[in-house]
């Protein structure tokens, strides 16, 4: 397997390694279901192989290139003591140059597969096999063409629940007694449908796994950063992989349309205008929000004074 195209720049060694690992996974898929002597030892899946292997595979290294550029810029920001707002504007402009949507994992539109090489090379054999299967199932279920007018981000999460359920179900059918443990061990931790539904209902009181997504916590970090431009969020150091997966999808939740509806209905709406995403903000958050706004106003004034 050779990538059809390489987007962005990175160490060629990483690309070669990613190609090699994907090739091994594709070869393994080409074997019979019961041929468990190769690679991940899960057994082949000729249907997935036929579906994935002949299509276009693009290596998307723009995320790596962007990160390298960002790191250089941060060093310059520190050296020149650039204010936070200016930093954010420069980084946003840089991101725009890279097309805004940066890929750090893998993706497909049903006919082309995109692979972030740094993500591929850090996977175990089973992990990569599951990721290739994940992309394959997205393609099989024709999810991109079924979105319609639904919210793209929420739709993608809904189909992730379905696809990861299919992967776990497949592990179960391949004689793994605890597929959710294999998934966790080889890929990473996952959020269940109920947990994510709970988060959408009230993000200010998230389930333990999603504590880091609490807007109050994010606001705290924003404030810290405004006070100290060099501040680095300690949680950003080692971002944990969190997947949207449900080991036991109920029968009525086996269609992503239904999962989407369920999740969408968890999001509170304004009782008068019907606007979605109207959450009741806790006092602590409101207080932080007010402080951040004041700091922003101060900074703006300071910046205007400097201009005069």
């Amino acid at each position: 397997m050779k990538f059809h195209k390489i987007l962005g720049k990175c160490d060629p060694q990483i690309i070669t390694e990613a190609e090699g690992m994907l090739s091994s996974t594709f070869t393994e898929l080409a074997m019979g279901y019961k041929t468990k002597a190769f690679g991940s030892k899960l057994g082949g899946d000729v249907f997935l192989h036929q579906l994935i292997s002949p299509l276009k595979h693009i290596c998307d290294a723009r995320g790596i290139e962007f990160d390298v550029e960002c790191e250089k810029m941060h060093a310059e920001f520190e050296a020149e003591n650039v204010p936070v707002e200016q930093r954010d504007a420069i980084i946003a402009a840089l991101k725009k140059q890279f097309g805004n949507k940066l890929l750090y994992t893998a993706a497909t539109n049903g006919s082309i597969f995109y692979w972030a090489p740094q993500f591929i090379i850090k996977q175990s054999k089973i992990g990569l096999r599951l990721i290739v299967g994940h992309e394959g199932w997205h393609s099989i279920y024709m999810h991109p063409s079924r979105r319609g007018s639904r919210n793209p981000a929420l739709w993608n999460i809904a189909v992730d629940f379905k696809v990861n359920f299919t992967l776990m179900d497949d592990l179960r059918l391949r004689d793994f007694r605890h597929p959710e443990e294999v998934f966790q061990k080889e890929l990473g931790d996952f959020i269940t449908l109920k947990e994510y539904g709970g988060f959408l209902k009230d993000p200010f009181n998230p389930p333990a796994k999603l504590a880091l997504w609490n807007p109050t916590l994010s606001m705290k970090h924003t404030m810290e950063r405004m006070a100290n431009p060099g501040y680095k969020n300690p949680d950003d150091k080692e971002p944990k992989s969190l997947y949207f997966a449900e080991p036991q999808l109920a029968d009525d939740m086996k269609r992503p349309e239904n999962i989407y509806d369920y999740l969408f209905n968890q999001i509170p709406k304004c009782s008068t205008c019907g606007k979605i995403g109207v959450w009741k903000k806790p006092e602590a958050y409101k207080k932080l929000e007010k402080q951040v706004k004041e700091m922003q106003a101060d900074m703006k004034d300071h910046s205007n004074d400097a201009k005069h």
Binding site: K34, G148, K162, L173
Partner: protein
């Protein structure tokens, strides 16, 4: 399918055209040289054509012949005292000289013939005689050879001048047609080639490989697995045999297909007959999906047959019982599986047009399944 880099300034024809040309040349009483890749079926097609006519085949493998084998042996040891030597002809000439049945000489491996054979061959082909002795029954000459990349050499120009020359290329569709009518190809191989037309023949230049796919290789593999199935060979052994005939790489691909053929098709058959299939729930997910797709594809084919037979009037035709039953069983089955699999199979294999054309929603099961499945598609 044409992956032969050079056509050697030869007229290209496919295997069906080759058969047609052979018939015409034999009818005319001419000479024809067919150059083709190994295993294209040059010889077997030629034999089929000859068998279909009133002619007798006289087969000569030129790669095994020396000059006396064509021109005759001096008769030194007949015990008679004479100042002259007579020549004895090889027995193959008997049919060409005696009796009155017209014969077709099939000269195989012309590209590997020794140069010493050229002169007698020229006379044989041009004059229909050997050393001046008329071959009165020789009606037509068909010669065959391989491409230079497969170890053949170009036959000498004087010989080429005396014959029609064609570059015969395998056409997978014709090969499949032949496979279907001859019954010589194992159904799993015919099904595999249908899905993988390019796997019928390998690269012209085999490089350092000892084994590669070819129509003859598949034919040999067919013979082996047909025999193996009868004798109860272990599937692994059968897969080894196939890989040994057509090469390891394609052998691996085929073995995965064979697994489908062996495991999935019986399940599909059962569902189509309304029987219970408990093994389905134990299948891996993609296997389940393939079963659903085959089911929908088969049902779609049944519906298409009604349309093909009845033409534009098909809406007024009462659906035959077997199609009605199949529709009932398939829809009932699809209602009870993962709705995503049902949706993909119906959408991909059956299609909205067939649903509307054949008013499938009039049927309670199909109506339920389609309403449930398709209602929310954006």
């Amino acid at each position: 399918m044409s992956d032969i880099a050079s056509d050697f300034n030869l007229q290209r024809i496919n295997t069906k055209e080759y058969a047609d040309n052979l018939k015409a040349t034999i009818d005319f009483g001419g000479n024809l040289l067919a150059i083709a890749r190994r295993g294209t079926g040059k010889t077997s097609i030629c034999r089929d054509v000859i068998l279909g006519g009133k002619y007798k085949e006289v087969y000569v493998n030129l790669a095994t012949k020396e000059r006396p084998d064509l021109a005759g042996y001096p008769d030194f040891f007949n015990g008679k005292k004479d100042n002259f030597v007579n020549f004895l002809f090889p027995s193959m000439y008997r049919h060409l000289m005696e009796g009155d049945q017209p014969c077709i000489a099939v000269l195989d491996e012309v590209d590997k013939a020794e140069t010493g054979l050229l002169s007698p061959l020229l006379e044989f082909i041009q004059e229909r005689s050997i050393d001046g002795h008329k071959l009165k029954n020789l009606h037509a000459v068909v010669m065959m050879g391989n491409l230079p990349s497969e170890g053949g050499t170009r036959p000498p120009a004087p010989l080429l001048d005396r014959t029609e020359k064609f570059l015969v290329e395998i056409n997978p569709e014709h090969w499949l047609e032949w496979a279907g009518t001859s019954g010589l190809i194992h159904p799993s191989i015919a099904a595999y080639i249908t899905d993988n037309l390019h796997d019928l023949s390998g690269d012209v230049d085999q490089g350092e490989n000892y084994s590669d796919r070819s129509p003859r290789g598949w034919h040999n593999a067919s013979k082996l697995i047909t025999f193996g199935e009868r004798k109860g060979w272990h599937p692994t052994m059968m897969m080894h045999k196939v890989a040994a005939c057509v090469g390891r790489k394609v052998g691996i691909k085929y073995s995965a297909f064979f697994e489908h053929y062996q495991v999935l098709l019986p399940v599909v058959e059962k569902i189509m007959k309304g029987e219970k299939v408990q093994e389905f729930s134990q299948f891996e997910n993609t296997k389940k999906l393939v079963v659903c797709m085959i089911l929908c594809s088969r049902y779609a084919r049944m519906l298409d047959e009604i349309k093909d037979k009845a033409g534009d009037n098909f809406r007024n035709i009462i659906m035959p019982d077997d199609v009605k039953d199949a529709g009932k069983y398939v829809s009932k089955f699809l209602l009870n599986i993962d709705p995503e699999m049902a949706l993909i199979s119906i959408r991909g294999q059956l299609g909205a047009k067939r649903v509307l054309d054949h008013n499938l929603t009039d049927d309670e099961n199909w109506d339920r399944i389609l309403t449930e499945l398709l209602a929310k598609i954006g």
